[in-house]
Point group: C2
Chain length 479, copies 2
Amino acid sequence: MQPNWIKQRAYLTPNRVALSFNDQEWTFNELYLQSVRLAYKLNTLQLTNGKRVAVLAPSTPALVELLYACMQAHCEVVLLNSRLAKKELTYQIEDAEVDTILVADEELAKLPDDARIVPFSQLYETHESEYDIATQWDEDFALTIMYTSGTTGFPKGVCQTVSNHSSSAISSALNLGISEKDTWLCTVPIFHISGFSIVVRSLLYGMKIRLYEKFDAKKCAQEIIKGTVTKMSVVAVMLENILSEMERIGQKAHPEFSTMLAGGGPVPIGYLERAEKLNLRVAQTYGMTETASQTATLANEDAMTHIGSAGKPLFFNDIRIDAKDGEPIGEILIRGPHVTPKYIGQFKHKPTTIDGWLHTGDVGYLDEEGYLYVVDRRSDLIISGGENIYPAEIENVLLAHPNIKEAGVCGMEHDRWGQVPVAFVVLKEKISEQKIIEFCELNLANYKVPKQVHFVNYLPRSGSNKLLRRNLLLLLDDL
Amino acid sequence: MQPNWIKQRAYLTPNRVALSFNDQEWTFNELYLQSVRLAYKLNTLQLTNGKRVAVLAPSTPALVELLYACMQAHCEVVLLNSRLAKKELTYQIEDAEVDTILVADEELAKLPDDARIVPFSQLYETHESEYDIATQWDEDFALTIMYTSGTTGFPKGVCQTVSNHSSSAISSALNLGISEKDTWLCTVPIFHISGFSIVVRSLLYGMKIRLYEKFDAKKCAQEIIKGTVTKMSVVAVMLENILSEMERIGQKAHPEFSTMLAGGGPVPIGYLERAEKLNLRVAQTYGMTETASQTATLANEDAMTHIGSAGKPLFFNDIRIDAKDGEPIGEILIRGPHVTPKYIGQFKHKPTTIDGWLHTGDVGYLDEEGYLYVVDRRSDLIISGGENIYPAEIENVLLAHPNIKEAGVCGMEHDRWGQVPVAFVVLKEKISEQKIIEFCELNLANYKVPKQVHFVNYLPRSGSNKLLRRNLLLLLDDL
């Protein structure tokens, strides 16, 4: 058992600032009291003790409060990605069999009609029914559920338990250090593990979050220069934008700014060199939804001597390479208290680990000192601006089009986003690239829509007829 | 399961300094390698995997290495207090049914003859037998066993598991913060939980320990003034000695020195006021052997506004007051992952908790904000220079003397040690105070020997004939 984090934190440090947004601030006690009132409203709607609630909202204090309330009400929260297309959201809502869908009013249009929808405005108007909020939480309770795709292209609902989240926050603290002076700048979406893990750290550390609804390189650069924040989570493209802004105005990071935690794919060496000149310490990390954020993190002091490495595992975690005899490279396996114990929905019977190890599908190696290098992302994963895109998911959509016979998708390098998806299709009947893209837009989040569609006569396949996505780009030479 | 801390730490930060003693330093990798060799020697002696080993040694690097080795060999270590009398040590060794007694050569004379004794010199000469050292530890494994007395006067062997120690270190970090720059000054004995918990923190945080075999106020003051250490564990008398030294030489604490963790009883207000003038931040704490160190700690910022309080519980811990209806004061109950799950030896069937709560025997209350105040120590506990002394233990010794009919022991205020024990006895046959003291010296650690023995005609008792130790001092008025 663990204490109810919200209640415990409000008891321990009631007057510390928990959250800052624009010009407003909230203490832990203020957020606690507001979340109790919201939990009483959830109780009126019979949303307590194990009910499953989907939440769709932008990253604002209203979302933080609501998540606090859901945790206090001990609901399992399915965090919906607001960038997804209506069909994708519908799949997740159905797969998760949620009891209710709590939606910020401005996001209502993103969802299909559903009797289970409760807009925030309606929740706020609900009367409060007092009840005994649990003071302890079961370690195995699924605090959050996040969907992530995989080889099949069908997103899986990943349970992240109380103990997954707490061990992640603890391991991160043991590695990066914690100080009363810390403020974590959160401009990544809270519906992602990168954002939600900041909320968890805030509660366990008693740490302030400086929240932005959307990433704004200029404002972030100012916070870093002035030292109003001490840590920040970024993906490569955000880091680049901040570096450009700081270079433009010719200012360096404040000495109190301690760590730029860079996840969601590798950081180009050039960025690291530029960061160093700006006194910006970058810690590259490797993690995923199934590991409730970081599994391994490269200390800044090692960044230039271990270029391209994702570092060593955090204290309570293990990493193993599942390699063939004599080969150093193989699939990356992960073990630790941060690894999800179960999926929900159609994958609920699929185990998340084999003999205790999560098989990531990613390929990599450990060097002689034990630093992890990720060589190939799982299932030809495309990482675009920090968002994971699984080719199979896009291929499934393309193959659903009546004119398309075969489809293959891969990533193409892109200056701004790192990678973008491009598609290769073999047609049954003629159709324009534009029409195919429009079809994809109906079914996929914008960032997953192929930026190019190439018409080819065949797709590269292995002897066993398996699509060789890595050879797709070679087709461009023949076009 | 948790990773083998020693191996994991040496893997993660091999080149960080783990330990400093006089002018010598050891990195985590050096200590790891030495402890592997020692573990191979222990293996030759068949001391691995669950064997129970008593250890008696002063707080030197040799002890740290040996403890590392015992942990790697997965032995349960009974930490013997070198201040105890031979009879007390004999009791603990017998009660714990240890397989072997590892003793620093200079401490050999403190023990009775015992075939199980292996002096350090003999261990060092043992050849090494390689074997597979476990890479993972069971959370419930008793890493250490420490003896502590109680109401009965018979010391109980308290198991402190892997998870007790790790949760204690983690909770402490969440409260006090951790930084790569930290160095913890250890001048408290390692056989106490106050000292051993510093070893655990060092491993989990990757933090340097600055070790002294014995407390030396002048040297400690210098370390604090120069900022060569950032945290230190003290009891009130040590704090006072350091304050006096700093006042004498007119120097303040270095700004990098962050926390003086003061345990083992209350800190007089005067000390806090003097500490403040010297920029020395004191965090008062409440903990015990059964809770693997701190349960509650008062933040320095709250020290002057909550004088006499031991603070609030650490994040994963709970405190409850078991009070009669309407009364604010009652027994202090503790719950959390740091609470021992079991005793060994003659108390092995005695549960450590009731409905999950450890009944401390201490009396206290929580104020409106939830700050803990300890009003009365358990079982008339006497705290002398940070050492716990249980009156019943001394009374048992006195009652074993043929000339003594009844005996009562209580604490008397003392300028230097806080308290010292004094005895009140009803005689069967005449005997001198000197003789009684000599008898006690044979059977008890020096600090437990009564500083005065008063001869009285009766002892104050309740209606049910229970000794009222708190009324003993009133007898002095009649003498």
